[in-house]
Symmetry: C2
Subunit: 106 residues, 2 copies
């Protein structure tokens, strides 16, 4: 997989209403719409895992989105895609903070 | 893949010597040793991708480690494994900061 889809895009969302199961489910459903974008490979939508709580573990976020792309151009196609723009338009009222990590496999 | 390896462990390292190619390569080699741990699936070792610089993109880190596990128990096996403990012992002098995200696919 490293060779075919080396570009990794990992986004973490903090909800405005952090305790709201309803808002969390709504955002999860929204993130899943992004799988329709042709350059998006292996979309994983996540919530905080029940691993050991340690100082280095950041677990204050609510929903995560992990995607793989063939290249940086594919990530740009995703970024500008109408489906992504609709996602931001329709769901951004749910979150208060977003942090993005873009990595390339070595 | 979501069904088989739903637990995602993503670690970001900030080097003490952030500009040092040598330290970066050394840490990359170190992270790659972790693939020997039997519960670790699909290890991706990364560096910052050349995507668009935006306010939400965190790109001050140096090396990333993305792993998939079958379950939280598998992540715990990794955490306590001698190969992981050796990695910390042999390479932790290279980094000044670590941030970990543990997600489970939904």
């Amino acid at each position: 997989m490293e060779q075919n889809y080396p570009v990794i895009h990992h986004v973490f969302f903090w909800l405005k209403n952090s305790g709201s199961t309803q808002d969390r489910e709504q955002l999860i459903a929204g993130v899943k719409t992004l799988a329709a974008i042709e350059t998006v490979k292996h979309l994983h939508v996540g919530v905080v895992a029940d691993t050991e709580k340690r100082d280095v573990v950041e677990n204050s976020w609510d929903v995560s989105e992990l995607m793989f792309f063939s290249d940086v151009a594919g990530q740009k196609v995703y970024q500008d895609h109408p489906v992504h723009q609709d996602f931001v338009k329709n769901y951004s009222h749910l979150w208060q903070k977003v942090v993005v990590y873009d990595a390339v496999s070595v």
